[in-house]
């Protein structure tokens, strides 16, 4: 018996969330007095997982798994869980893992708790804290089945380094008929994505038009951040829909969320409440965002952002 963790990779490299869920799995394994086994699919080098508490890696190399496919990937993880007699399976909450987890849960007849933000408060009964009501509350949930699937919210647990090292073993599961085939992928590969980002720079209708996004991108660049936007901005076609955050858009759980020219309507806040530190730049001191923010600048984005870029560049140079 061990705690099993699905560690996502892209083009052979692990995503940051993979190390986070590995860290989480290690914490759960310690509580239960057991070890951590990771499932890695088409990853180049799995040794780094040891740094985050993984004892053993089941290495899957298969060209048929080149593109993510929820059903096939869920089947791989399920077969690994059975082989390892895993009672707890940990996944992240990226778009792909959220796609895979319910399929996995059904095939293992496992209860699934999503959006989990802390290690279990108890492992018997298995009790976890998850967000509810679009981050306006938390819910303590027990998972009552023998096998349990835990979906850990991105950036909620963080990375915890361990001194261990991971052994690797080849794993060759059988693959089901996938039923869904990928025709094309349209994705900016050189950009930090909102789900992975520790810092997100987001801008709203206060930016007046798409031509003014240069400074938002530059600010994001300096910070190594992903860019995002409010709903009207994507509705107006100023930015792609994949950048729209909020209740009807993407959720953001970054360490730092910088909102520029965004009013802070409740539907927008619903998507970003899980972010730890929020900074708002807005001309209107009455903008509701100031009530939700940790730091605020009442000022014109067109003056504040270019200056902030300069200050951050200077800060980086001084701390390099």
């Amino acid at each position: 018996m061990s705690v099993l963790v699905y560690t996502e990779s892209e083009n052979g490299s692990f995503k940051k969330t993979a190390f986070e869920v590995a860290s989480y799995a290690k914490a759960v394994a310690d509580q239960m007095g057991t070890t951590v086994t990771a499932v890695a699919i088409n990853a180049n080098d799995t040794s780094e997982l040891g740094t985050y508490g993984v004892d053993k890696v089941l290495n899957v190399s298969n060209d048929a798994l080149k593109n993510f496919n929820a059903k096939s990937y869920a089947s791989v993880v399920a077969q690994a869980a059975k082989q390892e007699d895993a009672k707890v399976i940990v996944v992240s909450q990226t778009a792909d893992s959220k796609y895979l987890a319910p399929i996995l849960a059904v095939s293992l007849e496992a209860g699934y708790a999503s959006n989990v933000v802390e290690v279990p408060t108890s492992t018997s009964p298995f009790t976890v804290k998850r967000t509810a009501f679009t981050n306006k509350a938390f819910n303590m949930t027990t998972i009552d089945t023998d096998v349990k699937v835990v979906g850990v919210s991105n950036n909620s647990f963080g990375l915890v380094e361990n001194s261990g090292s991971a052994t690797a073993e080849d794993f060759s599961p059988s693959l089901p008929e996938s039923g869904v085939s990928v025709e094309s992928v349209d994705k900016a590969t050189d950009k930090v994505t909102i789900a992975d980002a520790e810092i997100v720079v987001s801008a709203g209708r206060g930016m007046k038009g798409p031509e003014n996004w240069g400074m938002i991108e530059e600010l994001a660049d300096v910070l190594g951040a992903a860019t995002a936007c409010s709903k009207p901005v994507s509705d107006l076609g100023w930015r792609p829909h994949s950048e729209h955050v909020g209740q009807t858009g993407k959720p953001v759980a970054s360490n730092l969320y910088i909102a520029i020219g965004i009013s802070g309507a409740i539907q927008h806040l619903a998507g970003i409440n899980a972010s730890k530190v929020k900074v708002v730049v807005n001309t209107d001191p009455e903008a509701p965002f100031f009530k939700a923010a940790d730091y605020g600048v009442v000022g014109d984005a067109f003056e504040v952002v270019p200056q902030l870029i300069e200050k951050l560049k200077a800060f980086k140079a001084a701390n390099a």
Binding site: Y112, V277, V280, F290, F315
Partner: protein, 248 residues
């Protein structure tokens, strides 16, 4: 084509979130319930299939009698009939099992659910349902075309989108993008009158077991006041983010 649209009955986003019974129950006092926004996009897409390609549209909810006004609203928007599985929805797995039974009994070709409901944001029902009935599954779906038995869908992925091809029977988790927001429908008087005549069948649950249980709710600790920084002193902001918040 027989389409089933899953409708989640959720508190309107602007609702005040409170709990009763020692923080074990959601306080519905003064809360306005609505069709889950992700489901509304799906319902509108289903209406499009009905009008453009010919399809019957059934809406379904797993819940008590209090959810009927939400189902009636979906009927007023144009669904042909409604099913309510008469049991309190306790967790995603249980809801998916009850829905799977409805799907099997009704022989639906296409099931449109929302990618997640805005109360628990669990995002589990559509995928679980698909797996239980052995249908193909696409979530975060922002476009769907069906031609005979074949379907083409676009789904949002982290950092972009992906076009996939698949076949019926199919379950999708839909979201904004599935139809234009300006195409979302508000029930009109005629629709509301007609909805009263449409069948709303109450079926008894299969008694599916519940895999997870809610023990207690908690509200986040009240947030401290914002620290304002003058636009003329952005060094201070950088300093605070580095030394106090420790995020840069």
């Amino acid at each position: 084509m027989k389409i089933l649209v899953c409708i989640s009955h959720v508190p309107d986003t602007t609702s005040k979130i409170n709990f009763t019974d020692g923080d074990t129950k959601f306080d519905t006092n003064g809360v306005q319930f609505v069709i889950n926004p992700n489901d509304e996009f799906g319902l509108t897409r289903a209406m499009w299939f009905k009008e453009k390609q010919g399809a019957s549209v059934t809406v379904v909810n797993v819940g008590g009698a209090e959810t009927e006004p939400t189902l009636r609203k979906a009927l007023a928007i144009g669904a042909d009939n409604a099913v309510r599985v008469n049991t309190e929805a306790k967790d995603g797995f249980q809801v998916a099992k009850e829905l799977a039974n409805v799907v099997k009994e009704g022989g639906y070709d296409l099931v449109i659910a929302g990618r997640e409901s805005i109360d628990y944001n669990g995002g589990m029902v559509p995928g679980m349902l698909a797996e239980m009935v052995g249908a193909n599954f696409v979530t975060n779906c922002i476009s769907l075309e069906v031609d005979g038995n074949n379907a083409k869908a676009v789904r949002e992925i982290d950092g972009g989108k992906e076009t996939v091809s698949t076949s019926l029977p199919l379950v999708i988790g839909g979201q904004k993008g599935l139809v234009e927001e300006s195409d979302l429908r508000i029930p009109n008087m005629r629709g509301i009158m007609m909805a009263r005549q449409k069948p709303l069948n109450v079926v008894e649950p299969t008694g599916a077991s519940v895999e997870t249980a809610s023990v207690k709710f908690e509200k986040p600790a009240p947030k401290g006041a914002v620290t304002l920084v003058s636009p003329d002193n952005l060094d201070e902001l950088v300093n605070l983010l580095h030394n106090e918040a420790k995020v840069i």
